[in-house]
Amino acid sequence: MLHPGAWWVWALGLAAAASRTTNPLLLILILAVAGLVVTARKPDAPWARSFTVFLKLGLFVIAIRVVFQVILGTPIGDHVLVALPVVPLPTWLAAIRLGGDITMESIIFAVCDGLRLAVLIACVGAANSLASPTRLLKAMPPALYEAGVAVVVAMTFAPQLVTDVGRVKQARRLRGRPSTGIRGALGAAMPVFEGAMDRAVTLAAAMDSRGYGRTKYLPARVRHFTAALMLGGLVGVCIGLFSLLQTSDSPGGHQEVGEPFLIFGILAAALGMYLGGKRSIRSRYRPDPWAIPEWLVSLCGVAAGVGVIAAGRWEPLSLSMPISPLAWPALPLVALVGIVLAALPAILAPELPVSKSLQRQAPAPQLTEVAA
């Protein structure tokens, strides 16, 4: 199995590439690359089936974007498709325009813009279905581990809650009470929450008695310093990423402050995590190694990002869809090479081992308990 971090680096590289362009050729290419790698290297696990969900979400985003453009957008260009009347609005709402002509240019602009977001979502979806969430948790830096456990435990509670609702509804039916509708739902809520609370307390007791939260002693000054570093670092990273990822032509772009913020943020967070990790005495069982395949996969992803950014430096116009006047988008060579490189993990990543005991055992879930 590949280290889950490698898949995330790869996917974030692709996502960075997608965020910098509205060129539909490049975007569709990125989407194709993500889809190809997911189909080739997706493991057979419940969490791995989420890619299509993310794709559907992307389609939805494009649709919303187009609808907004039609209703509220200013028309671009002069190829009018449908002429709609403009709804008269009071003068204090002059900035907003409702209705009006729908032009080919504005529709294409909206589709490309929505596509950018959809592809970004698909990249996250690809990482999600390629890398196991629990394995990713194992690879977390020690300083973040305890927060990570809380997240994972919360995630396992959600399906349990659904089971509980079913059980309580059945119990209400056995007492001859309404089990559906609003009254049924209200009656079920209380016992379900009580049950969830009880389980949370039991689990906390079990984790405590198995040594969760054992720490080494560190002086209070060091601990406060660590917390400040981590927090400051994360804020820095956020500001830095936000400014860097804004395309140069978008309003309010402050690319020049992006890089120093990002570098400072990463340094501070890394130092904070290093210091925070000192408190933890935790060791790792069979850690996922970071070897040549991991380097290759993550570099392939980074290549896509670098390719698109480089194309933006040399020929900035090639990254956006020419709207007015309408024209066929350009295909910058650097970006093309970068994105194609990102498809290589489909062959480079090691094939998945097939679990022996899973193969032998027929999937017979313990459904009696769900039914009980």
Partner: protein, 545 residues
């Protein structure tokens, strides 16, 4: 290894102390069994060993608890994790990760064990507990016995000196319980682990114990098994038999009892059989009309076939025990009888008019069939016993006071104002049973009714069942408890993978199976005797004659 010095514990908002002035020493390498009635403070005592009581639960603890030289006063549970391994009653509720191997490693990770040692110990634990075949399976897909062994393995890998188990076999079928107990015995014999375990079904563990700790009203006594069982409030059937027959030394295992009973059996063999046959009335019982049946029933969940093809009928006045491994389809059958599961094919009919329960409105359903689920408390939601009874009356339009009268006939003297959560396990079962009976359904289904009951509780419960059957109710209970089946059921149905394996009178089905035979029948073999009372009666009759 474990030392309690003048320990008293009082929880806030309770009248008296839960533990009072406990002095207890368990030496290294001992297997000690903690026995006591439900609600006597067993779990509190066990959880005080690793400091969960009072660090986690609150309450005022005086005195000292010292484990392997560490005082729980200064060491919270996480600082004792490398010394005490605590396995809770329901293993699933304590699992943190999602596969067997990761769960075994989790405790060591938090303790910072060196990765190479960690790898080695996981492999050892997999072998020791027979889990190697399921090492990368998700925990959710394991059977009950496998889960319990995983939970034991998960605390074992941290090399604790003390293993504390809270009713490790209470939810398991007899086969899975054997697996778990065998694993625990191996740990005691091979690794010299100190083990303290609470267990309701003493018949399974007493013969292996080095010491017995009896807890009664917060007071604790301990001693050798023979010594303590002579006066314990709860004893397994062989010991009860030995006590009543005045055998000395007191037999602890079937083997001991067979040897002690050899003369009596020889005398029985001389006399005609009618003296023993008299004890059984299942063949001669008057049995009423059919009130529940399934006809070529088949149940599936997705691709998983729970019941392929099953036909059964249940009649008024019968007490039927439904037995089989965990996941054999017992719950599916019960659920289909109350219309919670839709049959894939075939028919299910319940009630005096044999109606189909699927899709029936709740108010019609409860006049035909009542189900007491495994978590009996699921059916209760009012704030007091009184409210619960009033509610049951209103729901079924029964005259007011019906539910309360039923409750008094089952378990007299429960205070009206008690919150259902504060009732003991047996009282709660009685309340749920009373609520279900308020609509007087002809069919009553019980899913593992005796899970939290001790011997006196079970005895009382058996009497209630017999009375209900005499009143013409049909009772079907899914259970793993062979001793309960022997004393209560008229008919036993055994299913495996949803198929009918055996169906017949209790004495025939149960005696012929080594797994399901109760202790007394093993002692009295080849005679057809199931309960202590019958055995005593038979042996006394030959002694007098």
């Amino acid at each position: 290894m474990i030392r309690f010095e003048n320990v008293s514990l009082t929880y806030p908002d309770t009248a008296g102390p839960t533990l009072s002035n406990v002095n207890l020493t368990i030496t290294e390498g001992e297997l000690a069994v903690l026995i006591g009635r439900t609600g006597s403070g067993k779990s509190t005592l066990l959880r005080a060993i690793n400091g969960l009581v009072p660090h986690f639960t609150g309450g005022l603890l005086t005195g000292r608890v010292i484990v392997d030289g560490r005082d729980t006063r200064t060491h919270p549970p996480r600082e004792l994790a490398d010394v005490v391994g605590l396995v809770a009653q329901d293993p699933m509720s304590g699992f943190v990760t999602d596969t067997v191997e990761e769960e075994l490693a989790y405790g060591m990770e938090t303790l910072g064990v060196d990765p190479q040692a960690m790898r080695r110990r996981v492999e050892e634990a997999l072998d020791l507990l027979g889990l190697a075949d399921v090492r990368d399976r998700p925990l959710l897909s394991l059977s009950g016995g496998q889960r319990q062994r995983t939970a034991i393995g998960a605390v074992l890998t941290t090399n604790p000196a003390v293993l504390v188990l809270d009713e490790p076999t209470s939810a398991l079928d007899p086969g899975a319980a054997e697996e778990v107990l065998a694993a625990i015995q191996r740990l005691v014999l091979d690794l010299g682990l100190t083990v303290l375990m609470a267990e309701h079904r003493l018949e399974r563990v007493v013969q292996y114990a080095d010491a017995i700790v009896v807890i009664e009203d917060g007071l604790v006594r301990s001693g050798t098994p023979a010594q303590m069982l002579a006066e314990s409030p709860v004893v397994p059937p062989v010991v009860e038999l030995g006590r009543q027959m005045g055998w000395s030394p007191l037999p602890l295992s079937v083997r001991d009892a067979r040897r002690a009973g050899a003369p009596a059996r020889a005398a029985l063999a001389q006399t005609p059989l009618d003296s023993t046959a008299a004890s059984h009335d299942s063949q001669t019982r008057p049995i009423g009309e059919v009130v529940a049946e399934c006809d070529h029933l088949s149940i599936r969940y997705g691709g998983f076939v729970a019941i392929p093809d099953l036909s059964l009928t249940f009649r008024r006045g019968e007490i039927v025990a439904l037995m089989g491994r965990n996941g054999a389809g017992k719950s599916s059958l019960l659920n289909s009888l109350v219309g919670l599961v839709k049959p894939r094919s075939g028919a299910v009919r319940v009630g005096a008019d044999l109606a189909d329960p699927w899709g029936m409105a709740g108010s019609h359903l409860i006049t035909r069939v009542g189900l007491v689920p495994q978590e009996a408390g699921d059916l209760l939601y009012a704030q007091s016993v009184h409210d619960e009874c009033v509610d049951a009356d209103r729901q079924t339009s029964a005259p007011s006071g019906t539910a309360r009268a039923l409750l008094d006939s089952i378990a007299p003297g429960i205070d009206d104002q008690t919150h259902p959560r504060d009732l003991s396990e047996g009282q709660r079962l009685a309340l749920v049973l009373a609520v279900v009976l308020t609509s007087s359904p002809p069919v009553i289904l019980l899913d593992e009714p005796t899970r939290g009951l001790d011997y006196p509780g079970k005895k009382q419960f058996t009497k209630v069942l017999a009375k209900l059957a005499d009143q013409g109710h049909c009772i079907v209970m899914a259970t793993h408890d062979v001793e309960l089946v022997a004393s209560a059921a008229h008919r036993v149905v055994i299913i495996a993978d949803g198929d009918l394996v055996a169906d017949g009178p209790t004495s025939e089905v149960v005696v012929s199976s080594p797994m399901f035979a109760p202790q007394v029948s093993k002692v009295m073999r080849p005679f057809d005797v199931l309960t202590v009372a019958q055995a005593v009666q038979a042996m006394r009759s030959v002694a007098q004659g």
